[in-house]
Symmetry: C2
Subunit: 297 residues, 2 copies
């Protein structure tokens, strides 16, 4: 039975020293030379979602990949560059070293393309199910971070890809939109950005609340993913899935018009009065209630 320290030793052997992280992981804390010009962005995301059953099915490498990609998607949402991460694993007892190594490889599969280093962590086992928590450090890298606050009436609302039905597989395999976020933030006067994890209806609500505005979404303009059509066999319309499913990990942003004509789709407009509406063909409007996921506590 391998121990925690064997695993830590193995992890350390995977990590090269770099300019950002002169001392490899394995001390009480990792030491980073933070670039003086960069704002530091930090956030954390924990594995257990929707009652934790999520993690029973997929392979550990996929689980690791997704956990890191959720955090990289948060970096995209702020238009910052992923710089470093720390991760904790509470593993079901007896899960074995191979499982942990696969989990770690999954984290690396996602982080490596961004030059994002895993600089520390904490590994243990317990009687419960797997909990995999990733904390991400991002750097502004010359672009002012985009928050959820700042949308102005008249701003156009965009999304970066078709939505809905991610449960068919995309929720595990999505690519975080880091490069696209930074291209958009450089080329256009974006006012807010968020990644679509909770579903368009709920995530747009976050933006509107933080900005003190409302929004109209044009039903015919919402890009509906083929997966949403597929899952619509459950009786709910594809558009409903596109608006509420969540885990798309596309970006939603607001921009002073005119916004981009490629690379993203305009789906609505910011209004001065609070409230989010969906406008159907012919002009009929109804409230767009958030039906995306909220954790009951």
């Amino acid at each position: 039975m391998p121990g925690e320290f064997d695993f830590i030793k193995w992890v350390q052997s995977q990590q090269p020293a770099t300019t950002l992280v002169p001392v490899p992981a394995g001390d009480d804390l990792a030491v980073l030379n933070w670039p003086a010009a960069d704002l530091l962005l930090v956030g954390v995301d924990q594995g257990p979602r929707r009652g934790s059953l999520r993690f029973r099915g997929p392979l550990p490498r996929q689980v690791g990949r997704k956990a890191m990609n959720r955090n990289l998607s948060d970096c995209a949402a702020m238009a910052c560059l992923p710089a470093a991460a720390v991760a904790t694993v509470a593993a079901p007892r007896g899960v074995g070293a191979d499982y942990l190594r696969e989990l770690y490889q999954g984290l690396r599969d996602a982080a490596d393309p961004f030059g994002c280093q895993i600089v520390g962590g904490d590994t243990g086992s317990w009687a419960g199910r797997l909990v995999l928590t990733v904390t991400i450090l991002g750097r502004s890298g010359g672009i002012k971070p985009l928050t959820r606050a700042g949308a102005k009436p008249g701003d156009a609302i965009y999304v970066t890809g078709p939505l809905g039905g991610s449960i068919r597989g995309r929720h595990m395999t999505f690519e975080p939109r880091v490069a696209l976020a930074r291209e958009l933030a450089t080329a256009f006067p974006l006012t807010t950005m968020i990644d679509l994890s909770d579903g368009l209806s709920r995530d747009l609500g976050h933006v509107c609340r933080a900005s003190g505005v409302g929004a109209i979404v044009y039903a015919d303009d919402v890009p509906v993913h083929a997966d949403a059509v597929e899952v619509a066999r459950d009786g709910r319309a594809p558009l409903e899935h596109a608006l509420h499913d969540g885990e798309d990990y596309e970006l939603l942003f607001t921009v002073t018009p005119p916004g981009p004509t490629a690379a993203a789709t305009r789906v609505g407009v910011v209004t001065p009065e609070p409230g989010i509406w969906i406008e159907h063909a012919g002009g009929r409007r109804e409230p767009l209630e958030p039906k995306g996921w909220e954790h009951a506590l």
Copy 2:
């Protein structure tokens, strides 16, 4: 039943904007103005320990306090200043908002005296037991971080307080030695430092391995806590408890001699050859095997 977003809103209302954190928490990531002269230190510690039963007994406020203090103790171990933290809670379903607020207050009880801000987090519920994970960001603040590597043969080995029997209560109520660490690092040529979480025998092993050295510990010089005498009723000698129990959260450091004569106790000496020995009165030596806690995976 309160939801995740109500709780996040409440947490946000607790957090003032500061120079370090101009934008309050609640976005995809928190944004920090990292001081240009400071190295950034980062580490993470997860709640479930020793099979997770630990968290059944104590009140949530104590649990929160301890989780933060473990991380603050890691800052002490590196002689850095706690700057900011992010925390995740996976709460047993139905635990209620009061429990979560108490947990958060416990985190704040520990962090506030150090001006350490909780800048973000992730809260959810699940079918499992409580998991509380804290990631800490420290800043060097004018003192070069002390790692576990750097002990030289002839260095004196010190600990900052009496050891053993922490299970009687100190493992929940300890005060992280941040100020003491920085005073010592300023006044003396320390070569390594670590906090005693796994037990002297194991933590000294971490230092020796990282430094490529060995050590002799003088049995008569190890400060034994009254709690170690109390728990010694189990048949193991108080010294055994002092050497192996762990969760003392005192500091162990090595220093080019002569070291301090107050504020810490000299317990041994660094040797060129690997191996850790305990030397009893009269000169008898035996190997000091690590018996502190290692997680089986």
